[in-house]
């Protein structure tokens, strides 16, 4: 149900601009320029990296099944599909699910798994300590997470922590539906009791294996959203989430430009109002793009232009503005190239920028 809904949503938004594997790479969280850029170009950020264990073969199997079920149809181009009427109805009901509301890939990508592992081990540890049991087989076999929990324990001697952890968890889970909370708690491990495997959960909650994964992912994002939004209510649980990157510095003058942009003034108008050169305003906009990841660059450089610039950067394997400009069609400006670069270097981890 969920996986199909997500793929349909992807197809719909990609609107034949990419093959079916464009969605695969987004779900898988491929660390490449193209995938990150696609995710933001086509507004599929919420799905980025939500299914990192999905294999290509299995994805192909899901697609064939969707075809068989009449949700999608092969288009004339290889590996391209269109959505049928049945598919659109399916998509509509997917949009009504809570998981669709919860899921928030690009923001939580990587942090969500770490959050879960820490939480599982933390609960198992305090559950055991509460019964004075110091030796148990940890459900999470990951040294980094174990070290983190050990460190946490050193700072939080057990006397009151259990009660507080329970209270926070209880409060937190109330933001879910009954079924979701039930599912999540069934996964938890404690004293002489081990939580359910994903396969067991799938059987119990009548989900496919894929949907069980996405169900859990969605719930996790919802929980993290709650915690991040009200840190003061979750003094323990908020420690499980690694900090966001430090917000970057923005100059006062760029901030003024930003304010005017939000009031829908054009670049030329802003330059006139502030008695500055247009080029200076361009610099401000680059600064804003770097500072605020939610700032949309679409109105300065269209999706088509972004695609062109990106493919040239990839082909030339260079960030040199002049070279890139020489290969672009003439109408593309230095400003537009810089804007794409600003975004791209932000979104991509160091090692993936050149593939």
């Amino acid at each position: 149900m969920y996986i199909e809904g997500i793929i349909l949503d992807g197809l719909n938004k990609l609107n034949m601009n990419r093959s079916i594997f464009g969605i695969y790479h987004i779900l898988f969280g491929k660390k490449s320029v193209q995938s990150v850029q696609d995710a933001s170009l086509f507004q599929l950020e919420t799905y980025y990296g939500i299914y990192p264990t999905l294999s290509r073969e299995h994805y192909v199997r899901i697609i064939s099944k969707m075809k068989e079920d009449g949700l999608i149809e092969q288009a004339s181009k290889d590996n391209h599909f269109t959505i049928t009427n049945k598919g659109f109805n399916y998509l509509k009901s997917f949009h009504k699910t809570s998981i669709y509301q919860y899921i928030n890939g690009l923001i939580f990508q990587g942090k969500d798994d770490l959050f879960l592992l820490r939480l599982y081990l933390l609960i198992q540890t305090y559950s055991n300590l509460h019964r004075n049991n110091n030796t148990f087989i940890p459900i999470v076999d990951n040294q980094e997470v174990m070290n983190w929990v050990k460190q946490f324990y050193r700072n939080h001697p057990k006397t009151t922590t259990n009660e507080r952890l329970y209270a926070e968890m209880h409060q937190l889970l109330l933001c879910l539906t009954e079924k979701e909370a039930e599912f999540f708690v069934d996964r938890l491990t404690g004293y002489k009791y081990y939580g359910m495997s994903m396969d067991q959960l799938a059987v119990k909650y009548l989900l496919t294996r894929d949907d069980a994964h996405i169900f859990l992912r969605g719930i996790t994002h919802q929980l993290m959203t709650q915690i991040v939004g009200r840190k003061e209510d979750y003094p323990i649980l908020s420690q499980l989430i690694v900090e966001q990157k430090q917000r970057k510095f923005i100059t006062d003058t760029a901030a003024k430009t930003y304010q005017l942009l939000r009031e829908n003034y054009s670049i030329r108008q802003i330059a006139q109002m502030r008695k500055l050169k247009e080029n200076t305003i361009y610099d401000h906009i680059i600064e804003i793009a770097l500072y605020d990841e939610n700032f949309s660059i679409q109105s300065f450089v269209s999706p088509n232009e972004q695609v062109e610039i990106i493919s040239i950067i990839q082909r030339l394997k260079t960030y040199k503005l002049k070279q890139i400009k020489e290969h672009c069609r003439d109408s593309i400006t230095y400003f537009q190239i810089r804007l794409v670069l600003a975004r791209w270097k932000e979104l991509l981890p160091e090692e993936a920028r050149h593939d």
Binding site: T53, Y120, I123, Y126, S127, H130, R131, N134, T135, I137, P138, I139, V140, D141, N142, Q143, E144, N162, E163, L165, Y166, M169, H170, L173, E178, A181, E182, F184, V185, D186, L188, T189, G190, Y191, K192, Y193, Y194, G195, M196, S197, M198, D199, Q200, V203
Partner: protein
């Protein structure tokens, strides 16, 4: 601390056991005399004590080479819980700095667990060579032998490390090793004088049953009908992951009161731990699994072991049924045999070893790469793809190449004629192994079809005699299921809501615990 006193005193002092189990005392006293020992003790009888006690009593460091990381970790945890703190495990989970720290403080430890792969590291060897090594233990020693059922190429390099460490006394331990394998172990470790201490592996509390069926439906019928009479800890072995999954789902529908799950090597780590531990905690009754399940599992009340598919070697079979009845209580092993099943292991064998075609392709690619100075993959995991073969096939070829000192790296210089020779040798070895595996399979099938006492036929291959069993011996001598009345599992109460479950996890005290 007591330094004197009988061995029994020391056993009790350090481990809290009053008496030794069969074989332990003999092995330990030889070890303490500095002799080299090959000990064959059936699974579950307590091989670990054979080096843990000497480690505590002797000066210097005891090194234990063990193939299973999870097993190492468990043992370290258990030992630390008994207040033996000078023990540590080195494995690939540790990061660089953690390892470094351990290397520098080796003198503080008395017992060191290592994986054979890590032991090959030059840096570790450098630090170990400075230590006084009181005992070098090779656990699961059958992994040394190519003819063993769990061959590990790195085990064959142990001898070089032993030399480097100044020839400490050796203790090699295994639960299943035929006479050939025993000889291989002694040869590979280069200790011809090694003393063999071999203890019987037959388990008189496990009844052996073989039931011939004509199709899979019949297998399912038999399993369902037996399980519906007994709700006891049960293992069902399969040779394929998919079959294990499917049957598990089928049985769960047919037996709604049983708690049934599956387990195989394709599952994620956390789910594997969860299922294993649920079984240990009696949260599950029945596990449908592949041979990946069971190593290092220490559950003593498994009552039924089914083989939905039979294994391709008698050694594996003995090990798998040996997981039943560790507590000595009556247990039953049931092998469901369908003549058509013989194809499965044959197919598996063929896919595990490289074919002639595979070999000539790899040979050609290596030759070309050397001649044209083309690069080999730098990432080891890319080799199978590079040669278009499977991982197991590549592991076999790689081990053979390494044996001949050929390591594939860039700007490798190698004469074509030598390469040709190596590949001729590899082909011969491949044929030998294939032949060997076929012989093993044959042996298994012959045993399944034997018309005299199954117990006698099974165990006399490995040892001189066996304990005869009057009552529940085997399906040839006769088994009476009416007399099989094992203690049933009392399932835990299932809590109604997530809120109660969460309370139970975090805040409810001992007195409210459900049983």
């Amino acid at each position: 601390m007591i330094k004197t006193g009988t061995l029994e005193n020391q056993l009790e002092f350090y481990f809290g056991y009053k008496t030794f189990r069969t074989g332990q005392k003999e092995i330990i006293s030889r070890v303490l005399q500095g002799k080299d020992v090959l000990g064959i003790l059936p699974t579950g009888t307590g091989k670990s004590i054979c080096y843990q006690l000497p480690a505590r009593l002797q000066k210097g460091l005891t090194i234990v080479v063990s193939p299973l990381i999870s097993l190492m970790m468990d043992q370290v945890k258990e030992l630390r819980a008994t207040n033996f703190k000078e023990v540590v495990a080195l494995n690939s989970f540790l990061d660089f700095n953690q390892r470094k720290r351990i290397y520098r403080s080796l003198h503080q430890y008395k017992l060191l667990y290592v994986s054979p792969e890590i032991l090959q590291q030059k840096e570790l060897q450098h630090y170990l060579a400075k230590q006084h090594i009181s005992l070098f233990v090779v656990d699961e020693a059958h992994c040394i032998s190519q003819w063993g059922h769990e061959f590990r190429p790195d085990y064959q390099k142990l001898n070089q490390v032993i030399q480097l460490l100044g020839h400490p006394p050796i203790l090699a331990l295994s639960a299943t090793a035929t006479k050939d394998v025993q000889q291989d172990i002694i040869d590979s470790l280069k200790r011809p004088e090694m003393e063999k201490l071999i203890y019987p592996m037959d388990r008189s509390n496990i009844a052996l049953s073989i039931q011939e069926v004509s199709n899979n439906e019949e297998k399912l019928e038999r399993i369902t009908s037996i399980l519906s009479k007994y709700q006891v800890p049960t293992l069902i072995y399969f040779s394929s992951k998919l079959a294990a999954e499917n049957v598990s789902i089928f049985l769960a529908e047919r037996l709604p009161n049983h708690r049934i799950a599956f387990y195989h090597g394709g599952m994620e780590q956390m789910d594997r731990i969860a299922i294993q531990q649920q079984f240990m905690n009696n949260q599950i009754d029945v596990i449908c699994c592949t041979s990946a399940f069971g190593m290092g599992i220490n559950k003593n009340n498994i009552r039924l072991v089914f083989h939905y598919h039979f294994p391709s070697q008698i050694e594996s079979y003995i090990q798998e049924i040996g997981r039943a009845g560790r507590d000595g209580e009556q247990s039953i092993s049931i092998l469901l045999y369908n003549r058509q099943d013989e194809f499965l292991p044959r197919q598996l064998m063929d896919s595990e070893l490289p074919s002639d075609e595979d070999l000539s392709r790899v040979y050609r690619i290596i030759g070309q790469s050397i001649a044209s100075k083309k690069a080999f993959p730098t990432d080891l995991t890319e080799f199978p793809l590079f040669f278009e073969i499977s991982e197991t096939q590549w592991r076999f070829i790689q081990a053979q190449l390494e044996k001949h000192g050929l390591i594939l790296e860039n700007s490798l210089q190698y004469e074509q004629s030598k390469l040709t020779k190596i590949f001729q040798l590899i082909r011969t070895i491949r044929d030998e192994r294939l032949f060997f595996k076929q012989r093993k399979l044959h042996e298994m099938i012959n045993w399944i079809q034997s018309e005299s006492c199954l117990r006698e036929a099974l165990y006399t291959k490995f040892q001189e005699g066996y304990t005869s069993v009057d009552d529940q011996c085997c399906s040839i001598c006769g088994i009476n299921l009416q007399n099989f009345q094992p203690e049933e599992i009392q399932p835990h109460k299932v809590l109604a809501s997530w809120e109660m479950k969460l309370r139970q996890l975090l805040v409810v005290g001992e007195q409210h615990e459900t049983k």
